[in-house]
Each structure stands twice: as C-alpha cells, then as structure tokens.
C-alpha cells in the first residue's frame, strides 16, 4: 500500500479550492482581459458550467472505481498496454501542468519582490514545503489545508475589503460590450483551471466516504467561480481598461489598497497568502505525479521519487520556457486546446469502455 493516510471531504474542498485559485489569481486575469477587458467577470461566470461538466464526468468515473486509482484501473479497463499508455499520457499532462505552475510561482516571486535572488534559491524555497508535505503523505497535505485555508482566505478578504472604497461599478458597463465570442474565448483558459480537478482521480481511494466526491468537487467549482467573479469584477472596477496591461492584477490591487492613507502597502500579506496557496497547489500536483509514477512502475514506496520529480519539474519548466511571456503565451494559445481534450476525453473514454465491458462498481438499486 503506497498511501496509508486518508483525507475527508472538507479537506478535499480546501485543497482543491486553492489548487484552482492559487495561480488563477496570478496570471489568469491577464489572459481573460486580453479578450474581454470589461466583461472579464462574465468569463468567470461561464467558468462555472463548463468546469462543472468536466468535474461531473471525472467524478462519475471515480465513483465507478472507488477502491482504485486511475493508474490502477486504466490497466483493468483498457488492458495492460493501452492502459499503461493512457496513464503515462495523463501523468505527462500533469507533469507539464506542474512544471508551468512551478514556473509561474517562481516567476511571480522573481518579478515582484525578489528580483536579484538567483532562481535556484527561489526554486528551493518554493519546493521545500511541498516536498516535506509529500514525504509525509496525503494526510499531511489535507491537515495543513485545514488551517491554511482560512489564513489565506482571511488575507485575501482583508485586501478585498480594503479596496471596496475604490470600486467604480460604471467601469463594468456596458455589460456584454465585448461581445459573446470574446467572453467565451476568455473563459476557455479558465475551464482548464477548473479541469485541473481531475487530479482527484489519482488519489480517489484515499478520500473518506468517496461516493460524495462529485458533490464536493461541484461545490469547489461553484466556490472558486464566485471567487473568480468577485476578483475579476474588482480588477475591472479598480483599474478599468488599465487591467488589460497589468501582469499581476491582484498584486497591483494589494499595492493600491489604502484606507485613509494609514493602512497601506499591504502587498506582503498578498505574498504570504499566495505562497501558502501555491504550496497547496504544488503539493497536490507533485504528489499526484510522484504517486502515479510509483504505481505505474509498481514501486513499494514513492518517497525516493520526490526529489527527482521536483528537480525534473523545475528543469523541464525552466528549459521549456525562456521567459514569463512565453509561459503566458503558451497558457493562452496552446494549453487550452490540448488540455481540454485530455481532461474531458480520457475520463469519458474510460467510462464508455468500462460500461461496455461491464466493469466497475454500481450502486445497488
């Protein structure tokens, strides 16, 4: 048994919420406002139904095999060769997503507060906490999310509340001014962020009472969708069309927040909370890769893989993208078009084949 620990539904919600939001709050707004500068918040509204669809398919698949992980049952469903191929494909996809996330988080610290620090040091700083958590297993990630969730949410809410005097609702008008097509195109990248929740399939059996996972994931999507609507609307209300030109809108907002010129310069709070959120996101991504690789190669213990995988993630990320602009261009123009087929297609394929072959667990009527 590779994983002894268990997490419960609440912890799953906490982890998955920050898995979406931690980096969605960094660069995603810039990708949305490229298409819909005034109607960015509507793109966030579209995020909810599309992501719920992806998550619903994934949770159906999970519910069919509640005692196995995706790597285990894809062998069962598609046969050893094709199954291994599909698992490897998915792991590679998670790997690439993970390397982008590492690049984004490290790049964020390099751009904003530590411009002179060597990247290696930033990489080590960012990866230490996830590495330690993964070493101790899923339960540690879950338990740490229990208290981190409210700390991060508290900081973000504080910044948000301080900005309310700056909100100018007329910046949002005219609604639908950017055109439906642009709003949908803007929401395409957000759907990929929602689709990251299929990571649950890789540790599905380690969730307590996991027939309810579908509901938890849908509520995660709705919660982060509301968060996205609120923050996107705030960007536009504070910065107007200027938000089109900002690399890190929430960072700018935290710098702009001010109450009576007394409470000012609260961007360190944003740094702290975003670091904590990124920790949860990086932990989940790295954990999934490490665990699935161990299962794919039938290892007894995944711990030996932690350091090599984190190193590989950073090296691949570092060499595949020369700059932050390339990361952003890639996530905008290429990433959604091959991520969405993987996020929707592979679970759908597995469900259909499993149904056809009569495999999987069914609820007794």
């Amino acid at each position: 048994m590779l994983e002894e620990g268990r997490i419960n539904g609440r912890q799953l919600f906490f982890i998955m919420f920050w898995t979406i939001m931690a980096t969605a709050i960094l660069n995603l707004p810039m990708l949305i406002t490229r298409y819909a500068p005034r109607d960015g918040w509507l793109s966030a509204v579209v995020f909810i139904p599309t992501s719920v669809l992806i998550v619903w398919i994934a949770s159906k698949l999970g519910a069919m095999f509640p005692k196995q992980t995706l790597v285990e049952y894809s062998d069962l469903v598609l046969g050893p060769w094709l199954g291994k191929f599909v698992s490897a494909l998915l792991i590679l996809w998670v790997f690439q997503a993970g390397s982008i996330v590492y690049q984004e988080v490290v790049g964020f610290f390099a751009v904003s507060i530590l411009p002179d620090t060597p990247l290696v040091v930033l990489v080590i700083l960012v990866s230490l906490a996830p590495a330690y958590a993964i070493y101790h297993g899923l339960e540690v990630i879950g338990r740490s999310s229990d208290f981190l969730f409210f700390i991060i949410l508290g900081f973000f809410t504080l910044i948000y509340l301080l900005l309310i005097p700056e909100f100018d609702y007329t910046e949002l008008l005219p609604v639908f001014g950017d055109g439906i097509g642009n709003i949908l195109r803007g929401s395409l990248t957000t759907a990929v962020y929602g689709g990251e929740l299929i990571l649950v399939l890789f540790f599905y059996p380690y969730i307590k009472d996991n027939q309810k996972v579908g509901k938890i994931l849908v509520s995660t999507i709705v919660a982060s969708g509301i968060g996205g609507i609120l923050t996107m609307a705030a960007y536009t209300m504070v910065f107007g069309l200027e938000c089109n030109f900002l690399t890190l809108p929430f960072y700018h907002m935290s710098r702009y927040a001010s109450i009576g010129r007394v409470v000012e310069r609260i961007d360190p709070f944003f740094m702290i909370s975003n670091f904590l959120g990124s920790y949860l996101k990086l932990s989940v991504f790295t954990y999934v890769i490490v665990l699935s690789l161990a299962q794919l190669f039938r290892m007894k213990n995944y711990r030996k893989l932690i350091i090599p995988v984190i190193l590989a993630l950073n090296i691949v990320g570092f060499y595949s993208f020369g700059s932050l602009m390339q990361v952003i261009d890639f996530t905008d123009k290429i990433w959604p078009f091959y991520s969405l087929p993987i996020q929707i297609g592979i679970p759908l394929l597995l469900i259909i084949v499993a149904k056809f072959r009569g495999l999987g667990y069914r609820e007794r009527k």
């Binding site: 751009v111 620090t117 008008l173 910065f239 107007g240 700018h252 710098r255 702009y256 001010s258 000012e264």
Partner: protein, 394 residues
C-alpha cells in the same frame, strides 16, 4: 539519535537564511526619493530625458525645527540626471550619489510640459512598469520645466514631496479649485476611449516678497486629448469642471446680488448626475445636474431677512455656478479633451452607436451640446441669522 541530529542541524541551517536575502536594501544606504520630475530637454543637439529627484536626507529630517533654523542646511537634495531613456537617466544618477536610489516612496510625479506634449506614452510606460513606483503616486503637470518647479522651497513642510502631497490631499477637501489625480487614474483615463485625462498644474511663484525664494501653488488643470496635452483650465474653469465631475468636497462662491450687496456661499455637499441624450440625427446632448447644499458664511450688506432673500440669493448662485460649468465645458471642448467622459456615457447607453462613431469622436465631441442645471441650497446661515449692517432693526 541520528535523525534528531539531522533535524536540528537542518533547523540551524535554516536560521542562517533569516539574516537576509539577495534583494535586501539597508535603510542607511538608501537614497529615498519622494518626488520626481520628468522633462524632455534639448542638450547639445540631442533630445534627452531629464529626471530630477528630490532625495531626502533622513538625518536632517530627524532634527527639531529649532536646530534646523540655526543651520541653513536643507533636509533634501534635488539631483538631476539625463539619459536617452528614463531608465538610463536613473542609471546615471547612481554615478552621482553614494547610495542606492529608492523610488518606492515616491509620492509625487511632476511632468514637464515638454513631456506632456510628445512623450507621455513612454513616460507612463516607464512609471507603470517599474515595480518601485506605486499606482497611488499623484501626478502633477507644470507649464514650464519640472526641474525648475523642484527648485522651489517648501513653505511649511520640511521637504518638497510632502509639501506638494499636502497641498493636493488637504487642498481638495477645502476648496474645489484644487484636485489631485493618482497615477492609476491618470493612465487609466488616457487609455480609455471616450474619456480623457486631466492633471493639476503646479506652479512656482514668489509668495513672500521678503523671502528670496519661490513657493509652490496649484493653479488650474492641464487637459489632455488622448496622450497629448490639449489645453489648460484656469482657476474658475477648474472649479466648474470639478463641480461637474462630482469630486467637489467643499468650496465657496462669492456673488454680488443686484446692487444690494454680496454674499459668500460655502457648500459642503455635492451630488452630480450626468446623462446623455441621443436624438434621431445622432446629435448628442449632455445633461449635467448638480445639487449642492451649504450655508451662507459671509454677507456684505445683503439683507438675509426673509425667505425671499434666500430664494434670490440661490437663483443668483445657480446662475454663476452654471456659467462656470459651461465655461469649463467650452474650454474642454476647444481642447478636444473629453474630461467628463461623455464618450463613455454614450458607450454605456448605446454600444452599437459608439462603435460606429468611435473613430470620429474627438470631432463629434466638439459639437456636443450641454444642459446645465445647478440646484444650490442654502440650508444654514452659520452662527448669525441676520446681516451685520451697523444698525438695529426690529
């Protein structure tokens, strides 16, 4: 035992990282800038940026005012440098001062006229890209060169940046001829189609004849059309614009009423509603409705005996306020500067029409007609209910 040793060693190693990081900047090595001026000048046949910085001398700041008066030394230093780009100018400064330049405390940015005419885009790009400068810094424009303004001496505060910042921040709460704008609002207005930017004008004038030094003063507004300087508003037009803009916190107006005398009116509440009407021939009319309420603070010989007197005073006030707003709007139209955001209002009302007229909007803006209606209410008369006129009337 082995595990414990490793853990404790690891914790000790982690302690080492607490002492500092690569990007550290010690306070005593910083040259803290709190105001910068940007100019474009012609030096030796080459057009260069000139960056002036007001750099604080923290040790002098800490002294009491008494010891300062005895020593004639300044608490700040104005450092100037030139360069092909602003970044180059900033680099050149580091050759002159023995400290690390630190822009994060910049409160005030002064743009010289030369910059506003031609190179505003480049300057704003630099200011919003550099991570040190915050979006909350205030923008000022000057009619001459910014470095000349920075040679003025502060009248009250110990340093120049604080002085300018104070004039803007506290001035706007007391009088509606002073208004400040942040870097964020300024660049947002320049970017947004159908909305043009404005910035307060800073002037160095000699206020005290005995002292041989210039002091600073905010006088009117500079208007921009897109990213170019379009024109200026004088003091009374500025009042009219600020009134219509809805940002007037407090302000006073003195009017003479017939030949009865004059009163001074101080309003401290203002509410503005601007809407546009588009008729069949696509002619655009803007309705500006301003509601003010305030009190009579001074009455020179004008009798304030019964309610009719107040009515008359109010109508006279309304006329004057309306004139001010009309004159300000006319001035803005002549400068082709849509400072009230009429274009945005059209866009909000009729997106399809806006898309078709977006290109020729500056032309169309000059033909926009306005209806101004000011409703000023006198709700109090201060601590006195009748005009002081030297005799006792029952």
């Amino acid at each position: 035992m082995m595990k414990k040793t490793i853990t404790y060693t690891f914790i000790l190693v982690l302690l080492l990282t607490l002492t500092g990081c690569w990007s550290k900047r010690e306070t005593e090595n910083l040259a803290i800038t709190n105001a910068i001026g940007v100019d474009k000048i012609n030096s030796g046949g080459k057009v260069m940026y000139k960056l002036s910085q007001v750099i604080l001398r923290p040790r002098k700041l800490g002294m009491s005012s008494k010891s300062l008066a005895s020593g004639s030394e300044q608490t700040y230093e104005v450092v100037e440098s030139q360069g092909q780009s602003l970044e180059e100018a900033l680099q050149n400064i580091s050759a002159e001062i023995p400290r690390i330049t630190f822009l994060a405390h910049t409160q005030v940015i002064i743009l010289g006229q030369s910059v506003c005419v031609k190179n505003l885009n480049e300057v704003l790009d630099f200011l919003t890209r550099v991570s040190d400068i915050r979006y909350r810094s205030s923008i000022y424009v000057t009619k001459g060169n910014a470095f000349e303004v920075l040679l003025a001496k502060p009248a009250m505060e110990s340093e120049l940046g604080k002085e300018i910042f104070g004039i803007g921040t506290y001035g706007k709460t007391q009088s509606f001829e002073v208004q400040e704008i942040t870097l964020k609002d300024f660049s947002e207005k320049i970017i947004t189609p159908g909305l043009d930017a404005w910035a307060p004008v800073l002037e160095a004038t000699r206020s005290d004849k005995l002292k041989n030094e210039n002091n600073l003063k905010v006088n009117g507004l500079a208007l921009f059309k897109a990213e170019k300087l379009g024109g200026w508003l004088n003091k009374t037009d500025t009042q009219g614009f600020i009134l219509a803009y809805g940002e007037a916190k407090q302000g006073s107006l003195t009017v003479a009423i017939a030949d009865l005398g004059q009163i001074a009116y101080l309003f401290n509440k203002s509410k503005v509603k601007i809407s546009v009407q588009i008729n069949q021939e696509k002619r655009i009319t803007a309705d500006i409705i301003v509601k003010l309420s305030g009190e009579v603070v001074e009455s020179g010989a004008y009798p304030l005996d019964d309610l009719e007197d107040f009515k008359l005073a109010e109508t006279r006030l309304n006329q004057r306020f309306e004139e001010q707003i009309r004159s300000a709007f006319k001035q803005a139209q002549e400068s082709e500067s849509d400072i009230l955001g009429i274009g945005r209002l059209v866009e909000r009302q009729d997106k399809a029409l806006w898309d078709s007229i977006k290109e020729q909007w500056p032309k169309m803006y000059a033909e926009v007609a306005i209806n101004v209606k000011v409703d000023s209410k006198i709700i109090r008369t201060g601590l006195r209910n009748k005009t002081f006129n030297g005799k006792f009337i029952k």
